[in-house]
C-alpha cells in the first residue's frame, strides 16, 4: 500500500531500539521533538534529499522554504511516514520511527489540496482519527465533545453538518487542520497549507495558524515556497535547496545574515552586483561594502531592495528611475544603472521634497548587503 510502507529500505544497522544507537550527530541540550539524522532519499536516480540534518524543538513553529524541486515536500512526507528514507534515521524524541508506518506515528498532516473525505460531513471528517482508533477509542460522547472543541478552535462551529464540497477553500483548510489536530498529534505537518488560497484568505489563515499554534503548543512544521510567509510566521526557518539545507535560523538571522548566496538571493530576493574584494572590502562601481572573511578576488554583493538609500553627495550608484510603482510605506524604484543593469530599490519616503519620478537621475548608496565569492 502506497500509504503504508511501499519499499522499506534494507537496513541492518540502526534498526534496533533507540537506546543502543548513537545519538544524532547534532545535539542540543534537550531532546528534540523530531530529529533527522543524515537523511537521504532518492527517486530513481534523482536525489530529492541528500544527508539532511535537522532538529525540531518541542513546541516550535518551524518553516521549511525552498524553490520547487528543492525536496521540501519529500522532507515533510518522510517525517509523516508517507515516504521512507534510503539512508539515515528519523527520531521522534528518543524513539526511532525511521521505518514506522504513517498510521503508527501519530502525526497530523495537512495537505495542500485539503484531502478531506468528500463523502463525510465536517464533523465526521474531524472525528475520523478518533473513530479508527483501535486502542483507547473514546466513546461517542467524548468524540463529539472533542469535535465540537476543535471546530470552535478553528472557528467553524456552525458548519459541522456540511459536506466539504459546500465549503470555501479557506474553510476546507480549517477543517483539515481540525481533523489533523483531533488525534493530538506529536507533530503537526503542513504541506503548503495556504498554497491553494487567494491572497486575502492566505493572510488571515496565516494569523490563524499562529493563533492556533500558540493555543495548542503543538510542534509544527510547515512548508512554503513563499519566503515572506516563512519569515512572518515561523520561530525558525529552514532554507532548502537541491535536497540540502542551506541555512537554519531565526527569521531575522536568515534575512540579515544569509549563510549562502542562495539564501540571500532566495529569501532576501536580493539584487546581485559583480565586483571585486580587495583587503576585506568589496568594490563595485559606485559601491563599497565590508566583506570580512571573503578572499581577495572576484565576488558578488547581494543587496536587498530595502538596503538602498538615496545618496546626498557624489557617491553611490548612478541610476535613472524607470518606474515608480505606487506603494505604501517605502518608495519602490525600478532603476537602470549607468552600466545598463536594472534592479529594484525601496527607499525611505523623503521628508521634504518630491518623491522620485520616472526619468529622474539620482544616486543610490548601499546601506547593507552580503558579499560572497563569485562562483567560478
Amino acid at each position: 500500500m502506497a500509504y503504508d510502507r511501499p519499499d522499506a529500505p534494507e537496513r541492518d544497522v540502526n534498526a534496533g531500539p533507540a537506546s543502543d544507537v548513537a545519538a544524532p550527530a547534532l545535539t542540543s541540550g534537550r531532546s528534540a521533538a523530531i530529529a533527522l539524522d543524515r537523511v537521504s532519499k532518492l527517486f530513481g536516480r534523482f536525489a530529492a534529499l541528500r544527508g539532511v540534518e535537522l532538529e525540531v524543538q518541542p513546541g516550535e513553529l518551524l518553516a521549511i522554504v525552498g524553490p520547487s524541486g528543492s525536496g521540501k515536500t519529500t522532507l515533510l512526507r518522510l517525517i509523516a511516514g508517507l515516504e521512507f528514507p534510503d539512508e539515515g534515521r528519523i527520531l521522534f524524541g528518543d524513539e526511532d520511527v525511521t521505518l514506522a508506518k504513517a498510521s503508527d506515528r501519530r502525526v497530523g498532516f495537512v495537505f495542500q489540496q485539503y484531502a478531506l473525505f468528500k463523502h463525510m460531513t465536517v464533523a465526521k471528517n474531524v472525528a475520523f482519527g478518533l473513530e479508527v482508533r483501535r486502542r483507547n477509542r473514546p466513546n461517542r460522547k467524548d468524540r463529539n465533545a472533542r469535535v465540537a472543541e476543535l471546530l470552535k478552535l478553528v472557528e467553524l462551529e456552525g458548519l459541522a453538518k456540511r459536506y466539504p464540497l459546500q465549503l470555501s477553500g479557506g474553510q476546507r483548510q480549517r477543517v483539515a487542520l481540525a481533523r489533523a489536530l483531533a488525534v493530538s498529534p506529536r507533530v503537526l505537518l503542513l504541506d503548503e497549507p495556504f498554497g491553494a488560497l487567494d491572497a486575502t484568505v492566505r493572510k488571515s489563515l496565516r494569523r490563524e495558524l499562529r493563533r492556533i499554534h500558540d493555543a495548542t503548543h503543538v510542534t509544527t512544521v510547515f512548508i512554503t515556497h513563499d519566503q515572506e510567509e516563512a519569515l512572518e510566521l515561523a520561530d525558525r526557518v529552514v532554507v532548502l535547496n537541491q535536497g540540502r539545507i542551506e541555512q537554519i535560523g531565526a527569521p531575522d538571522e536568515i534575512l540579515n545574515q544569509p549563510a549562502t548566496a542562495f539564501v540571500a538571493g532566495f529569501v532576501g530576493q536580493a539584487n546581485v552586483f559583480d565586483g571585486e574584494v580587495r583587503a576585506g572590502v568589496f568594490h563595485a562601481p559606485g559601491m563599497s561594502l565590508p566583506a570580512e572573511g571573503v578572499a581577495d578576488g572576484p565576488a558578488q554583493a547581494y543587496v536587498r531592495a530595502d538596503q538602498f538609500a538615496i545618496a546626498d553627495g557624489a557617491d553611490g550608484v548612478e541610476v535613472v528611475v524607470r518606474r515608480v510603482p505606487p506603494s505604501a510605506g517605502l518608495v519602490r524604484l525600478e532603476v537602470d544603472s549607468a552600466g545598463g543593469r536594472s534592479f529594484e530599490a525601496a527607499v525611505m519616503r523623503p521628508e521634504r521634497g518630491p518623491v522620485p519620478a520616472a526619468g529622474d537621475r539620482l544616486r543610490l548608496k548601499v546601506a547593507g548587503g552580503r558579499v560572497f565569492p563569485s562562483r567560478s
Binding site: S103, L116, F117, T121, F128
Partner: protein
C-alpha cells in the same frame, strides 16, 4: 435524445452566426444522421425482437418460456451471472486499486492484460479454456482422473463468462481511482487508519457509483455472452444451454416464436439493466455537493 435537440437561436445578430454555433442545416443533418443511425441499428432490431415474439400473441410467448429447456436456460444464465459478476466485481476492484493507487514494475503490462478479453475474439477465449481444461488440454487428464468436468459443463461456462466480462469493472474504476489520487488515503493513514479501515471508510465510498455502473455493464454482458460460452458449453439441452445459446438452437429449429420469446426476455433483462444504470446516473450526486 432530448439533449441532442438544440434550441432554436432566439436572437440572431444580422452580422452573422454567433460564434461556435454551426449553421442550421449542419445541425439538422447531424441530428438526422444520429437519429437515423440509432433507429436503424439499435431501436429497430430491438423492436423487431418483440414484434417477432408477439407475432402470434402473448400465449405462445409464455408457452415458449415455460418449456423445461427454456426454464433451464434462464436458470443457468442467471446462475452464471450471479457467480461471474460478484467475482469480477472483486477482481476488478483489486485490479483497479493496484493499478491506480500503487506503482510497481510491470504496471503498464497489467493494464494491457486487463484489456485482453476486449481485444480477443470471444470464440478464441472459449478455445483457450478448451485447450487448458479439455480432455486433450494441460489439466485434462488430471481432471478426468478426479472426475471433475469443466469443459462442456457449467464450470466452463462460468470461467468463460468471467474471462469475457473481466475488464468491465476494472476499466470503469481505473480512471476514476487515478483521478482521485491517493491524498485521501494518505490522510487516513496519518490519522491512524490501517489499510483495511482506509479501504472501507475512504476508498470504497469514493468509488461506489463507478463500481455499481461497472457491475451493471458486467452483468449485461455476462447474461448475453454467446461466443466464448458457445465453445465451452457443448450445447446440452436442459443442462449447459444458456439463454443466448437456447435462442440459437430454437432459431435453427425454425421455432421462430420460441427463439424470439427467449430473445425478448434476454433483451428485457438487458433493458432493465441499462434502465437501472440510467437511474443510478440520475441519482449520483454531482460535484455541486449536496451530500448524499
Amino acid at each position: 435524445m432530448a439533449d441532442l435537440v438544440l434550441p432554436a437561436p432566439s436572437v440572431r445578430p444580422a452580422s452573422g452566426q454567433p460564434v461556435g454555433r454551426d449553421p442550421a442545416w449542419v445541425r439538422a443533418l447531424v441530428l438526422i444522421l444520429v437519429v437515423g443511425f440509432v433507429g436503424l441499428f439499435l431501436l429497430a432490431p430491438l423492436a423487431m425482437v418483440f414484434v417477432g415474439a408477439l407475432s402470434k400473441g402473448v400465449g405462445p410467448v409464455l408457452n415458449a418460456l415455460v418449456q423445461p429447456d427454456a426454464l433451464s436456460a434462464i436458470g443457468l444464465t442467471l446462475t452464471v451471472a450471479a457467480i461471474a459478476v460478484p467475482l469480477n466485481a472483486v477482481f476488478g476492484v483489486c485490479a483497479a486499486w493496484a493499478v491506480a493507487k500503487h506503482s510497481f514494475p510491470g504496471k503498464a503490462f497489467l493494464i494491457t492484460l486487463i484489456d485482453l478479453p476486449f481485444s480477443v475474439s470471444p470464440v478464441v477465449a472459449g478455445l483457450i479454456f478448451v485447450l487448458v481444461f479439455g480432455l486433450q488440454g494441460w489439466f485434462g487428464a488430471w481432471l478426468s482422473d478426479h472426475d471433475i468436468k469443466i469443459i462442456f459443463a457449467v464450470p466452463g461456462i462460468i470461467l468463460a463468462t468471467i474471462f469475457v466480462t473481466f475488464p468491465f469493472v476494472a476499466r470503469e474504476l481505473i480512471p476514476l481511482m487515478q483521478a482521485q489520487g491517493v491524498d485521501e488515503e494518505e490522510a487516513a493513514a496519518t490519522l491512524g487508519a490501517n489499510g483495511l479501515q482506509t479501504f472501507w471508510r475512504v476508498t470504497t465510498p469514493n468509488i461506489r457509483w463507478g463500481l455499481l455502473y461497472g457491475v451493471l455493464l458486467c452483468n449485461a454482458r455476462a447474461m448475453g455472452e454467446f461466443g466464448a460460452v458457445s465453445v465451452v458449453s457443448g450445447h446440452i439441452r436442459g443442462q449447459t444451454d444458456t439463454m443466448p445459446l437456447h435462442v440459437e438452437i430454437l432459431y435453427n429449429e425454425y421455432d421462430f416464436v420460441g427463439a424470439f420469446s427467449v430473445a425478448a426476455l434476454l433483451c428485457l433483462l438487458a433493458v432493465i439493466t441499462l434502465a437501472l444504470k440510467a437511474l443510478l446516473e440520475a441519482l449520483e450526486p454531482r460535484e455541486t455537493g449536496h451530500g448524499l
